[in-house]
């Protein structure tokens, strides 16, 4: 599956496995159901990632956050927006690791994924065949700024208005 971030296609250092042992490689993604076993079995230098469904209790993930190098959240259908909320909740509660959106999301959702705290996206082959890299990158830049504060957009409209107001006040003070 292709992997993209804000700059475009990138190498995926992780492989997926059901069970972790020394043959699994240095960077392994396991299903959520196997994560406890994987963390117990991993070698010292092995990085563990986990594939989450979109309806996991975020507290359960946060409890393991320090040990996880990567968390991916599934989009079973692009119309199912739960992964956006799960990502937000993980970020709001201090998750610092890499967050990846995975599955059936479409290029038009690329900027939403970043805004909600994802770092990268792993779309399905079928979608990517119709929507190649340039469509994802174009979608990311279509709306330069939106109205929501605290969604990763440093130049969001409310903050820009505040900055303009403060600049005006300062000019007035001088």
């Amino acid at each position: 599956m292709p992997l993209l971030d804000r700059k475009g296609l990138k190498q995926n250092p992780f492989v997926r496995a059901e069970v972790v042992d020394e043959t699994a490689g240095p960077n392994v993604i396991v299903p959520w159901a196997q994560v406890q076993a994987a963390l117990a079995a991993r070698a010292k230098d092995q990085q563990i990632g986990v594939d989450l469904p979109n309806n996991v209790a975020y507290g359960d993930v946060l409890a393991l956050a320090d040990q996880l190098a990567l968390v991916t959240i599934d989009f079973p259908a692009f119309t199912d927006g739960r992964a956006f909320t799960l990502a937000r909740r993980l970020r709001n509660n201090g998750f610092q690791g890499v967050l990846r959106a995975r599955g059936n999301l479409i290029a038009d959702q690329f900027p939403y994924a970043f805004a909600c705290g994802f770092d990268e996206v792993e779309p399905s082959e079928a979608v990517y065949a119709r929507q190649p890299e340039e469509q994802w990158l174009a979608a990311a830049g279509r709306i330069t700024h939106t109205y929501q504060r605290n969604y990763g957009d440093a130049g969001n409209i409310l903050d820009q208005r505040r900055a303009a107001r403060l600049a005006k006040e300062q000019a007035h003070d001088k």
Binding site: D80, T85, R142
Partner: protein, 564 residues
């Protein structure tokens, strides 16, 4: 009214370009039909029975004259010379072509308008009291709050793929003209009983559709500064926990109902407590910036009563009749708010021709500070007219066929587009409205009956709000024939109530007789000065039901008798 700044302007222009690219990507196959559908819906574009329908946002129903003129131009150039005002205070065009839509959006952007989130499983156009800034019972103008929410909800990264559509309404008055109790979120601006500070009562989980509920109070008093963070908490809980297994159980009202108000409140408050309010909420200065656009216009100092107005009333009974029905008192002495009825006898409710749009725009410019309102009753309001000018306005309206004196009366019927246009409909609505309007056309009789709201939906989705009609009519399909269920006792106001069924459904041709019989029960039973809904409350549904069922039963016996 609100005006775009450079940021709003850029945002809407970029949105037009984004949709243009999405249309192109649909046509070249990059987007599948299934993928394009929610994207076009979030831009107000539906595929209807005969053509695309484009729904244009009229945020909280406020329009400037130049905006209505632009809608007239679009109606002439891209539609069939008319538009249709909806129960969400929006305008719909029923004959748009997909290839024209990006250009229409460009024309809308030229006058600070858009189609953002007029459909789709996202936060829809925010509605508000159409007498905002006018009504004497208003504590605060709800429109700055509605505008703040409009901006916050636009292209929200987290809340654009919700389980189902999400509707928010705001009122700042004692008397609820915005139906806040039947919205996903209803906000009522109120004063804290102890501190006197203004804030919001937050009502969640109201709604119509196939399972109607009156909303529950989730927060009795929310400080004004916390609004956006609290909304974020509510919608986040809904996005995570709302049902997605069944489209008909996906609205927030079902979640609130299934887990209970207490548990829902607990989840929202838990989420809200985790949020860092100041990083989310708008600054008080930003709220004030928006509010400044809704400052009262430059009213003249006038005597409370206009002699000219009184003289015209005395000399012209037709004018007096119209004024009695269509004029609403204004809190500023010498002014009045007037409702232009789009319910001419025998016409489709809410329809307006491009010529009429231009006339109304001209009247607003000349007589009402260049501003109009669209009501959820599908009428148009000129909010600030000098009483002395009412006669001149009325004369102009008469010439254009817009002086129907029936606001709030039995022929001021709400109806969805129904099977004449809508792909979801199971029955026609407009012909039922037309037949009832003709049946009760007599002005003296309408006045005698007094305030009575009939609301008609052409399917269970209830776009015509039949549940909250004093008399509600729901069109269904039974064995290939249109069949109409009648409900009684619904109320859209602060006394919100869902109407009760009267009995088995009836044929289209029997609807006017059935409604007439209900009205007769009321006329026979009412006490002095009692309006329809109050009589229903006092005597209950039973006397109405008896008459309704007796007649329906008699009718169903007829074929058997005929055979015998």
């Amino acid at each position: 009214m609100y005006r775009y700044d450079q940021f709003d302007e850029r945002f809407v222009r970029e949105r037009v370009a984004q949709f243009r690219a999405q249309v192109k990507r649909r046509l070249d196959g990059s987007l599948s039909d299934d993928e394009f559908k929610p994207l076009r819906l979030m831009n107000g574009l539906y595929l209807q029975l005969h053509a695309y329908m484009l729904r244009i946002a009229v945020p909280y129903g406020t329009l400037a004259s130049r905006q209505l003129r632009q809608l007239a131009l679009i109606a002439d150039r891209y539609d069939r010379g008319y538009g249709h005002f909806t129960t969400r205070q929006n305008m719909q065009f029923n004959w748009a072509k997909l290839r024209d839509v990006p250009d229409i959006l460009g024309l809308l952007a030229d006058v600070e308008m858009h189609c953002i989130q007029t459909s789709g499983n996202c936060i829809r156009n925010v509605t508000a009291d159409h007498f905002a800034g006018v009504a004497a019972d208003e504590l605060e103008d709800p429109r700055p709050t509605a505008e703040l929410i409009r901006q916050w909800s636009s292209l929200h990264p987290e809340f654009s793929f919700l389980p189902r559509k999400f509707k928010i309404a705001v009122t700042g008055a004692e008397h609820d003209r915005a139906a806040v109790k039947v919205h996903d979120i209803g906000l009522r601006i109120l004063r804290h009983p102890d501190t006197g500070e203004t804030g919001y009562e937050v009502i969640v989980g109201g709604g119509l559709g196939r399972t109607p509920y009156v909303g529950k109070v989730v927060r009795e008093f929310l400080p004004r500064r916390d609004l956006l963070a609290y909304l974020e908490a509510i919608v986040r809980v809904y996005n995570a926990d709302g049902r997605r297994d069944n489209k008909f159980k996906a609205r927030i009202k079902i979640l609130v109902h299934e887990i209970g108000t207490e548990e829902f409140r607990r989840r929202v408050e838990e989420e809200f407590a985790q949020l860092d309010g100041p990083t989310i909420n708008a600054d008080p200065e930003e709220v004030a910036r928006i509010a400044a656009y809704f400052a009262p216009p430059a009213y003249e100092k006038l005597p409370a009563k206009s002699n000219a107005y009184e003289a015209h009333r005395a000399a012209n009974p037709a004018f007096a009749t119209w004024a009695d029905a269509n004029v609403f008192p204004h809190r500023v002495p010498g002014y009045a708010a007037l409702t232009i009825s789009l319910k001419a006898i025998g016409e489709a409710p809410g329809d307006i021709s491009s010529e009429q749009m231009r006339l109304v725009a001209d009247l607003a410019e000349k007589y009402s500070f260049d501003e109009l309102r669209v009501t959820h009753m599908q009428n148009v309001v000129l909010a600030h007219v000098r009483q002395a000018d009412l006669f001149a306005v009325w004369q102009k309206l008469c010439e254009a066929g817009l002086a129907t004196p029936n606001v709030g009366l039995i022929t001021d019927i709400i109806a969805c587009p129904g099977l004449d246009y809508c792909a979801l409909a199971t029955a026609r609505s407009i012909p039922i409205a037309q037949a009832l309007s003709k049946r009760f056309a007599d002005q003296a009789r309408q006045k005698e009956i007094g305030p009575l709201g009939i609301k008609i939906s052409g399917c269970i989705n209830a776009c015509g709000h039949h549940h909250i009609g004093n008399i509600g009519i729901l069109g269904l399909e039974k064995n290939g024939v249109e069949n109409y269920q009648i409900t009684l006792g619904g109320d859209a106001t602060e006394n919100a109530a869902i109407g009760g069924h009267l009995g088995p459904g009836i044929d289209a041709k029997d609807v006017p007789d059935a409604i007439e019989r209900l009205v007769d029960v009321y006329l026979a039973q009412r006490e002095d000065g009692e309006i329809f809904i109050d009589t229903v409350r006092r005597i209950g549904v039973t006397p109405f039901k008896e008459v309704f069922v007796a007649k329906t039963h008699a009718k169903s016996k007829e074929p058997e008798n005929a055979v015998a």
